[in-house]
């Protein structure tokens, strides 16, 4: 669709300024195209950015898109921000994996599954924007429910939760029942 230059430019500009990922439907409406045409242009843009002289990439998050930098260029950006990438602690990663797979879930359930208090780790994750409160659970004390954020997906290079590696054990499902009773 080489003659769609203006729409192409508009899409690029929109994906550049968008705070939240934009869906094909939203993009199509904004540039006044049919959704399938917008999807085609977005795909073209995605391809274009794949060329090695480009530093940007179209990042897919859930059903939406936004422009970001190529993951492999992260060191340059960290140099600019003078912020060496700091990995998460083992504790934070454990908590994060529990929240990712069992969301929405409560502090109680996390503590039970890890066999150890996790409040510090949960607080760190919330602070880093990887995890957020998503509601409250019915029942005594109405504990806060936690879930992962879009930032979580971005941080681990996932485009949706369905891309999480599958958990290996069949005991997984059963343990969920146990934890429920314990709470």
């Amino acid at each position: 669709m080489l003659f769609r230059e203006k729409e192409m430019a508009a899409l690029e500009a929109l994906l550049f300024v968008a705070k939240d990922p934009l869906t094909i439907e939203t993009l199509a409406e904004l540039v006044d195209l049919a959704p399938h045409e917008a999807a085609e242009l977005v795909q073209e843009l995605e391809q274009k950015y794949k060329a090695s002289e480009h530093g940007l990439a179209l990042i897919r998050i859930n059903d939406g898109f936004k422009l970001g930098t190529k993951p492999e260029l992260a060191p340059y950006i960290e140099a600019l921000y003078k912020q060496p990438a700091q990995g998460l602690s083992a504790a934070a990663l454990e908590v994060l994996s529990i929240i990712a797979y069992k969301q929405p879930t409560t502090r109680g359930e996390i503590d039970f599954l890890r066999g150890v208090q996790s409040d510090r780790a949960v607080a760190t994750l919330v602070e880093k924007g990887l995890v957020k409160e998503v509601g409250r659970k019915d029942g005594p004390g109405r504990p806060v429910l936690f879930g992962t954020t879009e930032q979580f997906l971005v941080h681990f290079g996932l485009s949706s939760l369905s891309e999480l590696p599958s958990l290996d054990t069949e005991a997984f499902a059963e343990s969920a029942g146990t934890a429920e009773e314990e709470e």
Partner: protein, 258 residues
């Protein structure tokens, strides 16, 4: 305990909790979780916890609880079994609950390791910091806040101001007798200010009671004295018309800035 049984090799500080430690011990045994030699594992666990205490490491109560649980399980195996083995079902395995927890913990730990590898593998994309406010304020043609507001609405709004001043809501609620000259003067002045082309004395009256006429007249005199209004009376018999002066408006600002 057998002599020469090696101490479990552990990097003590690395444990995320008692389940992590237990998992580590089992993995060292290289057996399936369901086949763990519970007595030996229990002893090892207790030993490591003691070691941790010796090293002055933080041994949370969770470690002690699990140690107790393991010792309890160990004791069950040391006691003679009351029931014939063939009737034993899996559900009655006293280790079951603990081992299930351990399996669940193991799968999350593995998932955490996968996530860690994702994290370190290739870096992640960075995004721009989007300042929505800034974007909106950069628009050349701002959203028209007057959408669907016409002259009629503007005049209507002004009429409401007028109406309220004319009605003197407060004045009407309170019996005129209870009103001080100052309040009356305020009311009069408000309406005078709205009538830049002048307002007739008669128009200032709402009740037309003798008292109100007297009060209004006194108010006008007060305002005249203060230089806030000026009055015109073409002839003795004709009506008095009052106008706001510059001073009137100045004083409003003074009052307001107090």
């Amino acid at each position: 305990m057998e002599e020469g049984h090696r101490l479990p090799y552990v990097e003590l500080p690395a444990f995320q909790g008692p389940l992590d430690l237990l998992l580590h011990l089992i993995q060292q045994e290289k057996v399936d979780i369901w086949d763990i030699p519970i007595a030996r594992i229990a002893d090892q666990f207790v030993e490591v916890v003691r070691e941790m205490e010796n090293l002055d490491m933080e041994v949370t109560s969770e470690f002690l609880v699990l140690a107790a649980q393991l010792l309890y399980l160990k004791s069950l195996y040391l006691l003679p079994k009351p029931k014939p083995e063939k009737e034993e079902t899996e559900e009655e395995d006293p280790r079951r609950e603990l081992l299930e927890r351990l399996l669940a913990y193991r799968s999350f730990k593995q998932a955490a390791e996968v996530l860690a590898s994702y994290e370190s593998a290739s870096g992640h994309p960075y995004f721009r910091e989007i300042d929505v406010e800034e974007i909106i304020s950069s628009f050349s043609s701002k959203e028209d806040p007057l959408t669907e507001v016409g002259f009629g609405d503007l005049l209507e709004a002004f009429r409401r101001v007028f109406e309220r001043a004319e009605q003197g809501e407060e004045i009407q609620r309170i019996a005129p007798e209870a009103i001080t000259i100052e309040e009356m003067a305020q009311d009069v002045l408000r309406r005078v200010v709205l009538h830049a082309k002048g307002i007739r004395f008669q128009e200032l009256l709402r009740f037309n009671s003798r008292l109100e006429i007297v009060m209004a007249f006194l108010s006008v005199l007060e305002l005249l004295k203060a230089g806030k209004i000026r009055a015109e009376q073409p002839s003795v018999r004709s009506e008095i018309t009052v106008f706001p002066t510059e001073t009137a408006l100045q004083d409003l600002d003074e009052d307001n800035s107090k």
